[in-house]
Subunit: 122 residues, 2 copies
């Protein structure tokens, strides 16, 4: 495998901390965590952290995994999302934690990004 081809399989710990850019090349945030389906073995969301300082005031945006494209040149993920639109995106604060099994919540995130619905928990 050539060094210029990004790997397909990667440790979650190497995904976290990676920058996220929009198509204009602006930094939106960085990957904070990844949500995975224990039973169906699917990667559901990348959680992007945004703003704040030393974690204070930081906000977390779940992005449907299929919305992320890795860009070799920038060394980060690109999402088709401008900053204005990010303002209206589903988010939660540091002291909150969504119920990832709540289908309504999943639907809201997926609808916002136009992704397929989060499959029902099995």
């Amino acid at each position: 495998m050539s060094d210029t081809v990004s790997p397909s399989n990667i440790e979650a710990s190497r995904v976290t901390g990676t920058n996220v850019y929009n198509r204009a090349g602006e930094t939106l945030g960085e990957i904070y965590d990844v949500v995975i389906g224990k039973r169906d073995g699917r990667v559901k969301y990348a959680i992007m952290s945004f703003g704040g300082f030393l974690g204070i005031g930081e906000e977390y945006h779940p992005l449907p995994w299929d919305q992320l494209e890795y860009d070799e040149r920038q060394g980060g993920y690109v999402v088709d999302l401008d900053r204005d639109r990010l303002e209206g995106a589903p988010r939660y604060a540091r002291n909150e934690r969504p119920d990832w099994d709540d289908r309504e919540y999943g639907r809201r995130v997926d609808d916002f990004y136009g992704s397929p619905l989060l499959p029902a928990s099995v």
Copy 2:
């Protein structure tokens, strides 16, 4: 959703650190990381760390994700693997890192555990 039902979707950061037991209830190690497919969105492996002290001498065993069952009672994952068999399982040392896109490596891990082959990189 009842508190007695374990969630289906979970942050990778909550999977790491979880104990792994065999069917006899012996501790085999703990989850150190998770390998995910960037392009196909699938969870490939849980990496179990085993042995060592403060990371020194620690070994890492990739376990096909579908081999892990979460056991509510023990609060950890159960894998059908006795300690003797673990001795012969694919592993790597702290200063090593497998090429997760190497199909031969994936085949060796999957064959050992009798899991389906790692899908070809796409």
